[in-house]
Amino acid sequence: MREITEGSHAVADAVRLCRPQVIAAYPITPQTHIVEALADMVANCQLDAEYITVENELSALSACIGASAAGSRTYSATTSQGLALMFEVCFNAAGMRLPIVMSIANRALGAPLSIWNDQQDSISLRDSGWLQFYAEDNQEATDLHYLAYRVAEDHSVLLPAFVCFDGFILSHTYEPIDMLSQEDIDRFLPKFTPYERLDAADPISFGMYATPDYYLEFKYEMDRALKESKAIIHKAGKEFGQMFGRDYSAMVEGYRLEDADTAIVALGSICGTTKDAIDEMRDEGKKVGLLKIRVFRPFPTEDVAKALSHVQRVAVLDKNISLGAKGAVALEVKDALYSSGIPVKDYIIGLGGRDVRKRDIKAIVALVEKGQGDMFYGLRKEVL
């Protein structure tokens, strides 16, 4: 059924359809509308879940760890400072192989304090072992939740997943969305079957400590599971497409890329703006295309290399910065294209909610054509 809904509310509705049994969350802008909507559903018997009103985000994810280990499907949502407070717990949840799904309404990290969008928060957790999905629009934001649970809970994966969608730009924006029915989702997403659980009938120990004789192998197995999850994502995304017409089998998606000389690489809502800019540039005869990255972890290195193998240059738009180095997406793309010799330039844009418009995308294309890049784009020189 197609309806016009706010992004956060659509995500909450998608989460409801996933039938989480335990929800633990803490309010933080711009994520709050999601957990408010879920609380409302619980209060009105539309969602049969235990809803734990925790005292902070560290406890939110910790409660999800307990509930997931006890064998329940769990959910949380956060952003920015809240995710930073969960830093330790994020690594822990992944290391314990618990398939928790968490929405991230992406927001900048302080200082200076900023409630506005960039992707520094989730990107900063890239090494934690969580799957990371990025949505271009709210339709994708809802669909990726179904996919995230399906992949995370697969017994060959068993890792937690972020579903990232840009704060305010998507979370507070009304868009027409095709909402699936409970029957639809029940067909796509089977009941949660924990691989192991806390159970007095069959006692096991979770979260033991590992000496140097074992730790390395634990990390290897996590890395292997993440890499092998690519095949699971492909299969589940394809099945989703067959069932509902929106195919998510690919971890990257090209737009007018087949014959492009210049490729833009981006993730999240900026892909929409970029597509519009590309259409206008194409009208002017410029051969520009987009490679959208939907899954940042596991990173689709081979897919990126293949999709960009024919282009002459690449401009990466990074809504994050590894200070003292480069944007995280550019580093990955450079790695993917290392042996090809294709020049990759990085553009740090939109940090702390700075608006990115079509004319900015066009200006970046002009820069990359001149070989200029690896820079912050759009600096206000008068305030420096």
Binding site: V22, L58, G66, A210
Partner: protein, 298 residues
């Protein structure tokens, strides 16, 4: 009733000989029984009981982080409720994880009223990292972060009153216990587990390595803490003290003298003023909990 033959904390773990905390694990699981899920905080007990791929726990057990055991237990309890399961949730955490780093999570979980029993094994410092001061360290104890020296008698801060703090959260049952009195300890654990809501039992668990005494003296040291009034075993129901163990009190120095952490109070010179401060603390305990047994000829 507690099945005294039940052993749910297996031998072969890596605790020091004479470890008080290991006794807590054994006695608490014995009292809690097989239908129990244990949530541990990071600390000595977690480390000596679960070096992968071995575990001493014969009940389901989970450890996540240092500070979050109460939040993890909240999640476990919520999941059990949702699934209609009846297992009891027991948290096992040291004093550092309880008095200090875990305070926020504890406060939140007790306020929400989850049905669990929180056991704090109190060995009065961070033993796992090498005997640093915690909020549970007693006055004048020498630790590696509050060492006694030429111008210091060790820890200058009083022990935090955790039982009162949790009683103030509305915990229906709060108790203190000691490994020197195992039957009393197990009875209290049983009571806590069978009381609905978040319950707290703080167990005095001397640490031979950290406090500086021989491993065969653990019970004797724990007993002296009670007998001098420096540790009081009591029960609180709905915020009111209903019972406290009475003793014929001995002077505090009989307890202090047994441990290297208080050695600076006696050598090279006896510190009468400091010992008097500690004696006054025991006297206040005795008055507050009315633990003194009056002898007939007094």
């Amino acid at each position: 009733m507690v099945d005294k033959t039940l052993e749910l904390f297996d031998c072969g773990h890596r605790a020091c000989g004479g470890c008080g905390a290991a006794l807590v694990a054994r006695l608490v699981t014995k009292a809690a029984g097989t239908d129990t899920i244990v949530v541990s905080a990071t600390g000595c007990m977690e480390v000596f009981s679960t070096p992968y791929p071995e575990t001493a726990w014969k009940v389901p057990w989970i450890h996540s982080l240092f500070e979050n055991a109460s939040a993890v237990a909240s999640g476990v309890e919520a999941a059990l409720k949702k699934q209609g399961r009846k297992e009891k949730v027991v948290i096992m955490a040291g004093d550092g994880a309880t008095f200090d780093i875990g305070m926020i999570c504890i406060s939140g979980a007790f306020e929400r009223g989850h049905d669990f029993t929180y056991i704090c094994y109190d060995n009065e410092a961070y033993m796992n990292t090498g005997i640093q001061r915690s909020g549970a360290t007693p006055y004048d104890a020498s630790t590696t972060t509050t060492p006694a020296g030429k111008c210091s008698f060790g820890n200058k801060l009083p022990k935090k009153d955790m039982p009162q703090i949790l009683a103030a959260h509305g915990a229906p049952y709060v108790a203190t216990a000691s490994i020197a009195y195992p039957a009393d300890l197990m009875q209290k654990v049983e009571k806590a587990i069978n009381t609905r809501g978040p319950c707290y039992v703080q167990v005095h668990a001397p640490c031979c390595t950290g406090w500086g005494f021989e491993g065969d003296q653990t019970i004797a040291v724990a007993k002296l803490a009670i007998e001098t009034g420096l540790w009081v075993n009591y029960e609180m129901v709905d915020g009111k003290v209903v019972k406290a163990k009475k003793v014929v009190r001995k002077p505090v120095e009989e307890y202090l003298k047994t441990q290297k952490r208080f050695r600076h109070l006696f050598k090279p010179t006896r510190q009468d003023a400091e010992i008097a401060v500690i004696q006054a603390m025991a006297d206040r305990n005795a008055e507050k909990y009315a633990i003194d047994i009056k002898l007939k000829n007094e």
